[in-house]
C-alpha cells in the first residue's frame, strides 16, 4: 500500500501533516510530517504535494538497515537503528525522506498509516496498492 495524491485538490490546510506527526512521533508538530505541501502564491495560486511512493530506494542505500519493510510492504524507519548518516535523503525520488537534527535524532518517512487520508477534507489523498513498475 502507498499514498496517492491529486495535488489539484489540495487546499494547503496541513491537516494531513498534523495527523502524520502524531502518527509517526506521537507529537502535534507538522514540521515532523512525512509529506510535503508546497504553496505557490501569489501566482499561480495553488499547492503541489509530494508523497512517498514506497519505492524502497531509501532502504536500498541505508548502511545500517534502519529502513525496514512492514507486512503491507511499506518502508519505515526503525528509529533505534538510524545513525543520521543522511545517505537516504538524496536518494528519494520524491524528496520525502526527512532528516532534521533540530527536530528529531532520527530520519523519518511515511509509513502508509492512512491517518492523513482520514483528515483530508478535499479527498486529495488516498491509499492504494503500489502499481507494478515496468522493468
Amino acid at each position: 500500500m502507498r499514498l496517492y495524491v491529486d495535488t489539484t485538490k489540495c487546499s494547503g490546510c496541513n491537516a494531513c501533516r498534523v495527523a502524520c506527526s502524531l502518527s509517526v512521533f506521537g507529537e502535534t508538530n507538522p514540521k515532523k510530517a512525512s509529506l510535503v505541501i508546497e504553496p505557490h502564491f501569489p501566482a499561480p495560486g495553488n499547492y503541489t504535494v509530494r508523497v512517498c511512493t514506497q519505492c524502497g530506494d531509501c532502504a536500498a542505500v541505508c548502511p545500517t538497515e534502519a529502513i525496514k519493510q512492514d507486512a503491507q510492504g511499506a518502508y519505515y524507519v526503525d528509529f533505534a537503528e538510524c545513525n543520521l548518516c543522511e545517505a537516504c535523503v538524496p536518494e528519494c525520488p520524491e524528496q520525502v525522506m526527512f532528516l532534521r537534527a533540530e527536530l528529531a535524532n532520527t530520519a523519518w518517512k511515511c509509513t502508509s498509516c492512512g491517518d492523513c487520508v482520514a483528515v483530508c477534507g478535499t479527498s486529495a489523498l488516498w491509499l492504494a496498492e503500489k502499481e507494478a513498475v515496468a522493468a
Binding site: S11, C13, A15, P42, C120, T122
Partner: protein, 608 residues
C-alpha cells in the same frame, strides 16, 4: 501547561525591550485564550482614555488552546486593541496559518506596547526574538512584502503584514496574511502602523503538549469524520460564503447602492456560481480546515490574482456599489488587500460617497475629477488608492463613514450605514429584526460574525419583534465568538452543521480541564459583558444611543425586491433593545447592572 504554547511575549517598541513571562494558569483557566486573552489584557493594561494611535494603546495577538492542533479549522488568531475606527473595543479574528505557528513557537499571546521611532518588524524564530529594521519593506504593498519575506526566510515562516494604508494610519487599515487572510476590522492595521510595526514574522518548531494523547487523537479524528461525512461539504467547499449571494438577493438582504434596497438587478453577474465559472482557480484553506472556504481567483482582465472575493466583499463592492462584474469586484478586493484596508468598511464608505455624489453633495471638484457614481469601476479602484494614501477625498473617507458624514453634514449622516462608528457589513436589514438587533449590539460595531441570524428571521417571521428572537441573538452572541476564544474557526459548526458536543472531549483531552458548552457559554457571557464595559469606560455617555442603527432602516423603505416598502419602526427598534437589555441583565441604558457584574464575577474596580 497542556494545550498552550507556554509564554506571553511582551515587546516594548519604545524601549526595544523584549521579554517572555509564563502564561498565567488562572488567566488560561478563566479566559482560555484568543479573544478571552485579548479582553483580559486590554482592560488590565490599556489605560482609560488612551489614544488608539498612541503609545499607550496595545495590540494583543493571541492563539487559543485549539490552535495548531488536530482540530478542524484550528487556524484562528485574535487581534485585540482599542479601535482607531470607533474608539471602542476591536477584536478581529484572522485565519490562515499564523496562529498555529505562534503555538509552535511556544507563545500564547504577543503584547505590543509603546511605539517605535523607526519602521521595524518583529521577527520570531523559536527563542530567537528580535525587532529588525523594516526600511526595505516600508511603503510596499502587503502582497509584495509577504512574498519578499517568504523568499528571504523560507516557506515555513508565517507573515502578518500591514500595507501602506496601515502605515498611513487609515482608521480601517487591516493586517494581511497568507496572501489573502486578514485581521480585518476596526483599524487593527492602523494600530500597528502607529507603532511603526510593518510585520510580525513567526516560525516555531516545538510540539504542543496535551493532557491525554489517546483521547485527543480520538476526539480530533471524530471531528474530522463528522466534517467529512457532512451532507453539505462538497457544495460548501465549492462556493464558500459566496453560496449566500443569490439567496440574499432573493430574500432582499443583498445590500444595494448604499443599503437603499436589498435587491440588485445585476446580481447574476456576481453570484457564487458566476464567480466559480469565471475566475476561481483553487480552493484555499486555513490551518487544519477540511472545508476550505477560500476561493483563490485569477483575473485575466487585470492579469492578477486574489484570494476572494468572499460574500462580504461581493456585497459591499458589487451590489452595494452597483457593480455587476465579478472580475472587477475581485480586482477591488486585491487592491484593498495589497494597500491594506478592510474591504467591508471600504465598500460601505465608497457607497456612502457615491450616494453623496449622486445627490450633489460631492462634485467633481471634491472628487478630483472622478465621476463617483454607482457602477463606476474605475472610480472605485481610484478611490481605494486615494483612501489608502489619504489623498484628496480619500483623506476624509479614511476617517470612516461616521466621522466623514459628521464633517460633511447636509443630511449625509442619515445615510451613513454604521453602528458605533463601524460600517455595517453585507446584510441589508430594512426588515430582518434579529439580524438588525445583531448589528446593533455586536461588540465591535455593525459586524455580522457574532450573531448571524437572518435565516432565523425568515424561518420565524422577519418582522416579528419577540423575546424569542432576542434570546436567539443572545445565545448566538455567547456561543459563536467562543470559537475566537478557542482559536478555531466556527464555520465547521455553522456551515456543515456538525454536532458542537464533539468539541467538548477534544478541549478536555487537550487542556486537561473539563468544560461543557454550558461552562463555555458562561465564559462567553462574561467576555460579552467585559467588552461592553470597555466601550462604556472609553466613551463618555455610552449607552442606548450607541446601539441605534442607521435611520435608513426606519425611514426609507426599499423600492425593489422582497423588502419593497418595508421598514423597522423606531418603536420596534427600541422595543428590541428593551428586551435585549432585560435579558442581558443590563439597565435601561444598556449598561450591565451591579447584580449582573456580581453574577459574572466581574470586579468593579476595573471600571472606576
Amino acid at each position: 501547561m497542556n494545550g498552550y504554547g507556554g509564554s506571553i511575549l511582551r515587546v516594548n517598541l519604545t524601549t526595544g525591550q523584549i521579554k517572555k513571562e509564563p502564561t498565567p494558569a488562572d488567566v488560561a483557566r478563566d479566559y482560555l485564550g484568543g479573544r478571552g486573552f485579548g479582553i483580559y489584557y486590554l482592560l488590565k493594561e490599556v489605560p482609560r482614555g488612551a489614544d488608539p494611535l498612541g503609545p499607550e494603546n496595545k495590540m494583543i495577538i493571541s492563539p487559543g488552546p485549539l490552535s495548531g492542533m488536530l482540530i478542524p479549522g484550528g487556524g484562528k488568531c485574535d487581534w485585540t486593541t482599542k479601535a482607531p475606527l470607533t474608539g471602542g473595543y476591536a477584536g478581529s479574528s484572522m485565519g490562515g496559518h499564523f496562529t498555529a505557528e505562534l503555538k509552535y513557537a511556544g507563545l500564547d499571546s504577543i503584547i505590543l506596547e509603546g511605539a517605535s521611532q523607526k519602521p521595524v518588524y518583529l521577527f520570531i524564530d523559536n527563542d530567537k526574538i528580535e525587532l529588525r529594521d523594516a526600511g526595505e519593506y516600508w511603503g510596499k504593498g502587503s502582497v509584495t512584502v509577504e512574498k519578499m519575506m517568504k523568499d528571504k526566510f523560507g516557506e515555513e515562516f508565517q507573515i502578518a503584514v500591514i500595507g501602506p494604508a496601515g502605515e498611513n494610519m487609515v482608521s480601517f487599515a487591516h493586517i494581511n496574511h497568507d496572501f489573502g487572510r486578514q485581521a480585518g476590522r476596526g483599524g487593527v492595521g492602523a494600530v500597528l502602523g502607529s507603532k511603526k510595526v510593518k510585520a510580525v514574522v513567526v516560525h516555531g518548531t516545538k510540539s504542543v503538549q496535551v493532557a491525554d494523547m489517546e483521547a485527543y487523537r480520538k476526539a480530533g479524528m471524530a471531528l474530522y469524520k463528522a466534517c467529512k461525512d457532512a451532507e453539505g461539504l462538497k457544495e460548501w467547499t465549492r462556493y464558500g460564503t459566496t453560496i449566500v449571494t443569490s439567496w440574499c438577493n432573493e430574500v432582499g438582504a443583498l445590500p444595494t447602492r448604499n443599503f437603499s434596497t436589498g435587491f440588485f438587478e445585476g446580481a447574476d453577474g456576481i453570484t457564487g456560481q458566476t464567480m466559480r465559472k469565471k475566475i476561481v482557480v483553487t480552493d484555499k484553506g486555513c490551518f487544519g480546515c477540511p472545508c476550505p472556504c477560500g476561493k483563490y481567483s485569477k483575473m485575466n482582465k487585470y492579469n492578477s490574482y486574489v484570494e476572494g472575493p468572499e460574500y462580504e466583499t461581493i456585497g459591499l463592492f458589487g451590489s452595494n456599489l452597483g457593480i455587476d462584474d465579478i472580475e472587477a469586484v475581485a480586482q477591488a478586493n486585491l487592491l484593498c488587500d495589497d494597500l491594506g484596508i478592510d474591504t467591508i468598511t471600504t465598500g460601505n464608505v465608497i457607497g456612502w460617497a457615491m450616494e453623496c455624489y449622486e445627490k450633489g453633495i460631492f462634485t467633481k471638484a471634491d472628487t478630483g475629477g472622478l465621476e463617483l457614481k454607482f457602477g463606476n469601476i474605475e472610480a472605485t479602484f481610484k478611490m481605494i488608492e486615494m483612501i489608502s494614501r489619504k489623498e484628496g477625498l480619500g483623506a476624509l473617507l479614511a476617517e470612516g463613514v461616521k466621522r466623514a458624514s459628521k464633517e460633511i453634514g447636509r443630511g449625509s449622516e442619515k445615510f451613513a450605514i454604521h453602528v458605533k462608528g463601524m460600517e455595517q457589513s453585507a446584510y441589508e436589514t430594512h426588515n430582518a429584526t434579529a439580524m438588525l438587533l445583531a448589528y446593533m449590539t455586536c461588540d465591535v460595531g455593525a459586524h455580522h460574525n457574532r450573531a448571524w441570524a437572518i435565516t432565523y428571521d425568515l424561518q420565524v417571521g422577519r418582522e416579528k419583534v419577540t423575546p424569542e428572537k432576542v434570546a436567539r441573538v443572545i445565545w448566538l452572541q455567547n456561543f459563536r465568538p467562543m470559537f475566537d476564544v478557542l482559536g478555531a474557526c466556527r464555520l465547521q459548526w455553522v456551515e456543515l452543521g456538525i454536532d458542537r458536543d464533539l468539541y467538548v472531549p477534544a478541549l478536555e483531552a487537550i487542556t486537561g480541564i473539563h468544560r461543557s458548552w454550558e461552562d463555555l457559554d458562561k465564559v462567553g457571557d462574561r467576555i460579552w459583558n467585559l467588552t461592553r464595559l470597555f466601550w462604556a469606560r472609553e466613551n463618555e455617555g455610552f449607552g442606548r444611543t450607541w446601539d441605534m442603527p442607521s435611520p435608513r432602516f426606519s425611514e426609507e423603505p426599499p423600492k425593489t425586491g422582497a423588502t419593497k416598502g418595508q421598514i423597522t419602526s423606531l418603536e420596534n427598534i427600541n422595543l428590541l433593545l428593551d428586551m435585549y437589555y432585560e435579558q442581558r441583565g443590563w439597565d435601561a441604558n444598556g449598561l450591565p447592572t451591579p447584580e449582573t457584574l456580581e453574577k459574572l464575577r466581574i470586579p468593579n474596580e476595573q471600571f472606576a
